[in-house]
Symmetry: C2
Subunit: 254 residues, 2 copies
DNA sequence: CTTGACATTGACGTAACGTTAAGGTTTATA
DNA sequence: TATAAACCTTAACGTTACGTCAATGTCAAG
């Protein structure tokens, strides 16, 4: 049995455009072209289309499908498993999203939209709380940074502009640090830039900066798991890398 | 505080391209353009960007976000709720997909890929089973279609080409029926075409066609909930509509 | 005065098709 | 047999939310 493009399209419940597209990208060429230039599909093509649609149904990209159907002995199961992992991740994200939307609707239904001002206050409060957790008695004693004592009040007194600025700076530190991390050299240009940005960032919270305190904090990032978790979030080993960079920056020897 | 494009981009952790794009599509214009043609953003823009990113985080399209942020009194909660429904549906589909992929991996791991031939046999067997369920003793008696007796054997004897053809025809019936349904007129051109296609489709299963049997089957679609469920799957009321069309087609009076 | 960091607009690329547009071919019907 | 209806072709733009050059202008620092 031979099929014109439309007959095949109706059989498979897809558009003719799709079939032409599949021809174009080479995942399903017609068996032959007749004298009028019409595409003619045969049994093999029907089978192949079925395979394609099967994988498509599973959400596999056409690029991956191409790999599957063009190489006869391709490991379809491997592709499927990879795809499966992606799907699970996607569902995790979706779940998170859904719960966020739920919360938002609930809070909006209760009262009017939280004002941005309030949001900022919220952010600031959170920062203070985090600091409180971080610069607890024990850590303070251990590293002796009396300068951090006034950190909290300083944050609370920040204007929104200052807050914006420090937020931006914090982002910059992370960005630079990530780029530096990829070079693998804590004494390199990028890493030193990151250390310098980190100093600037710290200066927002501290009244007076000293190399010793800076190095102390850097060491703390490695020793205290709450900090390590934060810095290693994106890349494991980042906290150690930052410490090494800061040590070099401040001229501290391990 | 005023921001250049890059400072704002770093503050919000997005690219400058994104900000230019938001300007382009009009969801976030800069406060002003300075003498050098640079974009200058102010406090209001920061606030607005925060809103935009908030909704973006929730997966809302920029088009919808535009509606939200441009009209000051727009009902953000309504948009969120609609979006929420979509998300739930999406998760449902995703769950289905995941379980399908799971099953596929499991079955592939057990034995080699199910051959297409086998698939067709599977489809055919399913069709026979469905028919068996549908044309059960009680229905047969009620409508007296002795012709459908041989339906099953006929299906089993089909070649793949015939099978393809009848599948296509079945699809066509549904398509036409849907289009006709939208016109709302069972006596209209489209509906009569659907009835005619339905006759052709039936003829694949029947040895001899009669108007009376055709009308009987059409009535059965309405009386038997298994059929009704099938035809009403896409559009409630479709079964009744098809019956009416077939009644007109066959000249049967209700 | 040069260099580097930053800014601009413009335009192509992405994934998987949908949708015209302009024009040839086959089939059905009067 | 003429013609209309149905079907085929390629070409090319539109879709989403930006990423990524390219070519060029501006500004602060050394």
């Amino acid at each position: 049995m031979e099929y014109t493009i439309q007959r095949l399209s109706r059989l498979a419940r897809i558009s003719t455009r799709t079939l032409r597209y599949y021809d174009e990208i080479g995942i399903l060429k017609p068996a032959r072209i007749n004298s009028s230039g019409y595409r003619v599909y045969g049994k093999n093509e029907v089978d192949r289309l079925q395979q394609i649609l099967f994988y498509r149904e599973l959400g596999v990209s056409l690029k991956s499908i191409k790999d599957i159907v063009t190489s006869p002995s391709f490991d379809g199961i491997k592709v499927l498993k990879e795809h499966y992992e992606k799907l699970l991740e996607k569902r995790g994200q979706l779940d998170l999203l859904i719960s966020n939307v739920e919360k938002t609707i609930a809070s909006k239904e209760g009262r009017t939209v939280m004002m941005d001002k309030e949001k900022f206050e919220g952010f600031k409060q959170k920062l203070v709380d985090d600091n409180e957790k971080m610069y607890g008695e024990e850590i303070r004693e251990k590293y002796g940074n009396e300068a951090v004592n006034r950190s909290n009040t300083k944050v609370k007194g920040m204007s929104q502009e200052q807050f914006d600025e420090v937020t931006e700076l914090g982002n910059e530190v992370m960005e630079t640090l990530q780029a530096a991390f990829e070079t693998g050299d804590p004494g390199g240009e990028l890493a030193q830039k990151a250390a310098d940005l980190h100093r600037k960032w710290l200066s927002f919270y501290w009244d007076n900066y000293t190399k010793e305190a800076h190095a102390g904090v850097a060491q703390m990032y490695v020793d205290d798991e709450r900090f390590t978790a934060y810095y290693d979030k994106k890349q494991p080993g980042m906290a150690v890398f930052l410490r090494d960079a800061v040590f070099i920056y401040t001229g501290t020897k391990r």
